[in-house]
């Protein structure tokens, strides 16, 4: 990554040599926030690239060290704001693991339903923006239509559309609202048809194939050595999903499959995510069927103190493995809380994927990596 | 140069006895014959030649060459029209020639600019007075 200096403002000569340095972002329509990609171009071909991050840095991990354990939870909603529920789940589970708390089954099932819904919403947003980057504007709006349905459920449940927050250490703040199950079922009934709509527009589309097949290829070995997780890893053919390898909540009781790609190109990642949406729906339907009655909040001390020591916990977020490393000195505040963000690690593969391709492919590859800058910069 | 001046002076003196200069001038303005086109094309041609001789930028030199070529085109067309009005035999020869000149210009531009890019890649300059490889 040290091939080119970060400061690259050569305004006096555009084509000094045959290479041109193009700063893509931080204000650019397809860098998904404030990512700045510095491209070194030969004509339209990318010779080298570098990612400049940190435009959204808020010092979250430092803030965590100065907050009581219950107070930290809402901050996690602001990290990956697209998948706030998953982030919240990560935190509460880590603390529960550290404290050895039991979560009531109903709360577990509700958590799974909500995180899977959140996965759907995140993937839908990914599909929308990915298609938009490649020029398919209509898919964008189609995907937002479904996302809107999920957000309505979220709004009813959490009272918020984006920073959804209902998980507490030891369970949930409140139980589901009465129409929750019916609404989720209605959505799940509708969803497969909508998925087919997207696929009608994209799967057999020559232009879509041309833009995605064989673009941004990363081999399984490279994916593992770069630490990729989530769809970028599974698109390369590596069978790894935390829900299967290290099941948390009630995932062990549920039946679902992990889609695996073969070529590791953008199209495979697309296919993997599309199938993941189907599998998420399957999980939701199962969880709804088995949703037990009972309390949603377990026995939790009034003042939450985590025993001294350290604990690592990870879950499968929509964008990959989310990990949290908690070091506690036994007090009411964490000594250190370090996050392993999926987007950040996945972004590291951009250079490997995009160098040698065209500018347009960089956009497609960024889209297929599905990054959120709030999580990367923290 | 003196010879030219003397020639011009004597010509002007000889013309004085004929219809006044102003009358002829206005008449000339009103009636455009082929020679006006030829004069125009001669001026543009020499401008183009000047461009070829004095500009540094090879692309501009190319453009000047195009200027010269199109001046020649104007000549062809003017003559073609002249022969048309005279009931000429092959009045469209001028048009045909013009088409060919355009073709040649296109070919020249394509090749010339290709050469130019190759040159730029190797020499990092397109200034005509910095390229003296013809010497070797």
């Amino acid at each position: 990554m040290n091939a080119i200096p970060l400061v690259t403002h050569h305004t006096e000569t555009l084509f000094d040599s045959e290479q041109m340095v193009l700063s893509m972002g931080p204000q650019h329509p397809s860098t998904h926030g404030v990512l700045r990609v510095i491209l070194k171009l030969d004509g339209e071909r990318v010779v080298d690239l570098d990612c400049d991050i940190g435009y959204l840095h808020r010092g979250a991990e430092k803030i965590f060290e100065n907050r009581l354990y219950p107070m930290i939870a809402p901050y996690f909603d602001r990290l990956d704001y697209i998948a706030a529920v998953s982030n919240g789940l990560l935190y509460v589970e880590t603390v529960e693991k550290a404290m050895g708390l039991e979560v009531p089954p109903r709360a577990q099932y509700l958590r799974v339903i909500l995180t899977e819904l959140n996965r759907l919403s995140s993937h839908l947003l990914w599909l929308a923006t990915h298609a938009l980057d490649i020029g398919g504007f209509t898919v964008f709006l189609y995907a937002f239509r479904e996302r809107e349905e999920i957000l309505k459920i979220f709004e009813n449940f959490f009272g918020a559309r984006l920073t959804c927050h209902a998980f507490r250490i030891g369970g949930m703040t409140y139980d589901a609202y009465p129409e929750f199950e019916a609404q989720v079922r209605a959505f799940c009934d509708l969803f497969p048809k909508r998925l087919e709509e997207y696929e009608t527009l994209l799967n057999e589309n020559r232009i879509w194939l041309g833009r995605t097949v064989g673009i941004g290829i990363i081999s399984a070995e490279d994916a593992i050595s770069l630490g990729l997780t989530g769809a970028p890893l599974r698109g390369s053919g590596v069978d790894y999903d935390v829900r299967k390898t290290d099941p948390y909540e009630c995932y062990a009781d549920l039946e679902f499959d992990i889609p695996i790609g073969e070529n590791g190109d953008t199209f495979d990642r697309y296919l993997v995510r599309m199938e993941e949406m189907r599998q998420s729906r399957r999980i939701i339907m199962q969880a709804l069927d088995r949703l037990p009655d009972g309390p949603v909040m377990g026995k939790v001390p009034k003042v939450i103190r985590v025993p001294a020591g350290e604990v690592y916990h990870s879950i499968e977020g929509p964008k990959g493995e989310l990990g949290l490393y908690l070091v506690s000195d036994g007090g009411t505040k964490p000594y250190r809380l370090r996050m392993r963000p999926a987007s950040f690690v996945n972004l590291g593969a951009l250079r490997k994927m995009a160098v040698g391709s065209l500018v347009s492919d960089v956009v497609a590859v960024i889209g297929s990596l599905d990054i959120v800058l709030g999580e990367i910069d923290r | 140069m003196m010879t030219f001046l003397a020639l011009a002076a004597s010509w002007a003196a000889r013309q004085a006895s004929e219809p006044s200069l102003m009358e002829r001038y206005v008449q000339g303005l009103k009636e455009v014959d082929a020679s006006k086109f030829l004069v125009l094309s001669a001026i543009i041609f020499s401008l183009g030649m000047g461009g070829v001789l004095i500009r540094r930028n090879i692309i501009v030199i190319f453009m000047s060459v195009e200027l010269m070529l199109s001046a020649a085109n104007l000549n062809f067309i003017a003559f073609a029209r002249y022969w048309q009005t005279q009931g000429g035999l092959y009045a469209y020869n001028g048009h045909v020639m013009t088409i060919f000149v355009i073709v040649v210009a296109a070919a020249e531009a394509a090749l010339g600019l290709g050469l130019l890019l190759a040159l730029y890649r190797n020499r990092e300059t397109i200034a005509a007075d910095e390229i003296n490889l013809l010497k070797w």
Binding site: - | K30, I44, N73, V103, A110, A127
Partner: protein, 194 residues
């Protein structure tokens, strides 16, 4: 007389445009401006072609010159760095060059004047192939404001009398295509394909 009346007015207007644009083509500092002025003079010349009843050639001139060649020029201008030229667009021999070009222009002008003073360009009438004359001449019965058969005549001429040069020109173009493709390859492509 080739042009009288309003056509003469248009002639003078277009001539002025063409002349000044040509002057600026040669003298403008920025090469892109040069190209723009060249475009102007070419378009003015195209309009002059229209006055001379050469509609097809006018269209072809604008299509090929402006739409093709000049776009290519601009393309290349953007590819190569021309900033250093703006400071000094002329070379060391500029005064001599301008002088000699002016001399040549004067000489040609003198030739034109001479032939005109001697009573027209070519006094010899073309040999009388009456049939061909009938064909080549615009129909005298055609009313004013009626579209002419210029394109058809030119096409027939191109494919009958001038068919050999036509073929040669096509071969020339082919060679130009092949040559420019070969020339424009960069090093990476050369390594790939050689």
């Amino acid at each position: 007389m080739l042009l009288v009346g309003w056509e003469a007015v248009f002639f003078w207007m277009l001539t002025l445009v063409a002349l000044f644009a040509a002057v600026f083509t040669v003298s403008a500092r920025n090469p892109v401006h040069c190209a723009l002025f060249l475009i102007s003079t070419l378009i003015a010349k195209g309009a002059l072609f229209l006055l001379l009843r050469a509609e097809f050639v006018a269209g072809a001139q604008i299509l090929v010159y402006v739409g093709g060649i000049l776009v290519l020029f601009l393309f290349v201008l953007m590819l190569v760095n021309t900033r250093s030229e703006v400071e000094n667009p002329f070379n060391r021999q500029d005064k001599v060059g301008a002088f000699i070009a002016a001399l040549v222009g004067l000489a040609i002008l003198g030739a034109v004047t001479y032939t005109q003073q001697r009573g027209g360009f070519f006094k010899t009438k073309p040999s009388a192939d009456r049939m061909a004359i009938e064909n080549a001449k615009p129909d005298p019965n055609a009313p004013a404001g009626v579209i002419s058969a210029d394109t058809e005549t030119l096409g027939v001429t191109l494919y009958t009398r001038a068919v050999l040069p036509f073929e040669i020109a096509s071969v020339l173009l082919l060679m130009a295509i092949v040559g420019s493709v070969l020339l424009a390859r960069d090093r990476r492509q050369e390594e790939t394909y050689d």
